[in-house]
Symmetry: C2
DNA sequence: CCAGATAACTGAATGGCATTAAATTAATTT
DNA sequence: AAATTAATTTAATGCCATTCAGTTATCTGG
């Protein structure tokens, strides 16, 4: 099916994803039109359909690209940071919030996954999110070795912490943080520190 | 502007909201068409525009109705439950998760608010969510009187807890809970209990 | 009860946008 | 170089929100 294209061929799929990422970054809303993507890529709209089943397929590709970025650019970096296990947990939390605030539209897309009209749904998307969660689970397990969170299942704690930072990011991006927080950056810092305080209180 | 209508008039706005709530409950996706709403209400599509500026205005009304339900049917009830402050906190958490699981499409709409093409944006929507958050803040403050969470700002803790349950609900509705949880109900129970364990550990 | 004003309603456009269809061009194979 | 296949394009098609122009119902004051 995927006949090799001419070497200097525009490589429409990658360029479409890149263009969509740019459009998401420019606008605040998650809505761009296929015509815009096609114009940015330099092809006509129907040509797009030779590379993606439909618009949702593109959105899902962008969704996956977002998780790759989150994992590689932020979380993996934070996990490699010097310091105690709890420090890495804190760094990961702040890195996560920073990613959400820097890429609001992309973040929203990553967590309002477009309906998969495709049969092979779960595998990749699931694995990508899973890899991010695994990073977190490991940090939790390491923290437990230092005495924190005694007797808890690290996977359960990791999911709860992920829920908390995701929920906070989601609410802040909707301007639903308490109105007395001066800036989004501050609103994003507070829940992470509060969670860390809860965790250290269990020592 | 709002000329009083004939007494037996169909009261299109309320019926439209009710119809939209039904459609959201039936379908899983958040997408219904104005024609469907109009048919359920028993009027033509353009008649709809005499009562709502546009479709987003209806979505915002449904959004608000969702917060009313959440507050009145669930959270206020849980806040009145017998038991210690921590028990009420736990009951509120479970009630919140139950609401999300029972009304998935409505819940998603409540937390992906449609763009407000209306100038008077924030007040009501904000106040409704705020009232829910206030309930939670009060429960946290009461819990602190019994020695939990010493030295923390109750408003900050409340927002963090809300973030956590909202994030968990959001992830579970996307089938992003760890795949080893047997059912959604169980997946919804676990994060609330984990948070309660963290809180009681601070005693 | 009636004439005029005003609001609510309806069927028929309009227009944006995703998706398809039919036809054309380019590339690859033999 | 002819034939097969893939990639692309222009021109539909269709769904749906929104708007128009005209019509009917309701209310007001005489």
């Amino acid at each position: 099916m995927a006949r090799p294209r001419k070497a200097d061929s525009p490589d429409i799929p990658n360029r479409a994803v890149t263009a969509a990422l740019s459009l998401l970054a420019e606008r605040d809303g998650p809505d761009f039109t296929l015509a815009e993507v096609a114009r940015a890529v330099g092809c006509s709209v129907p040509a797009f359909y030779n590379h993606f089943r439909d618009k949702n397929a593109l959105l899902r590709a962008v969704h996956d690209a977002g998780f790759h970025r989150l994992h590689d650019d932020k979380l993996a970096l934070a996990a490699r940071t010097e310091g105690s296990a709890l420090d890495r947990l804190r760094a990961g939390g702040h890195a996560y919030m920073a990613f959400a605030l820097e890429n609001p539209a992309l973040y929203r897309l990553m967590f309002s996954p477009p309906p998969s009209s495709d049969l092979e749904d779960g595998p990749l998307a699931h694995d990508l999110g899973r890899r991010c969660l695994d990073l977190l689970t490991r940090a939790v397990a390491d923290s437990q070795k230092t005495g924190a969170l005694p007797g808890q299942d690290p996977a359960v704690v990791a999911f709860t912490l992920w829920s908390a930072v995701h929920g906070a990011a989601s609410l802040i991006l909707q301007d639903r943080a308490p109105e007395d927080t001066a800036s989004r950056r501050e609103a994003a810092r507070i829940p992470v520190e509060t969670l860390m305080a809860l965790i250290t209180a269990s020592l």
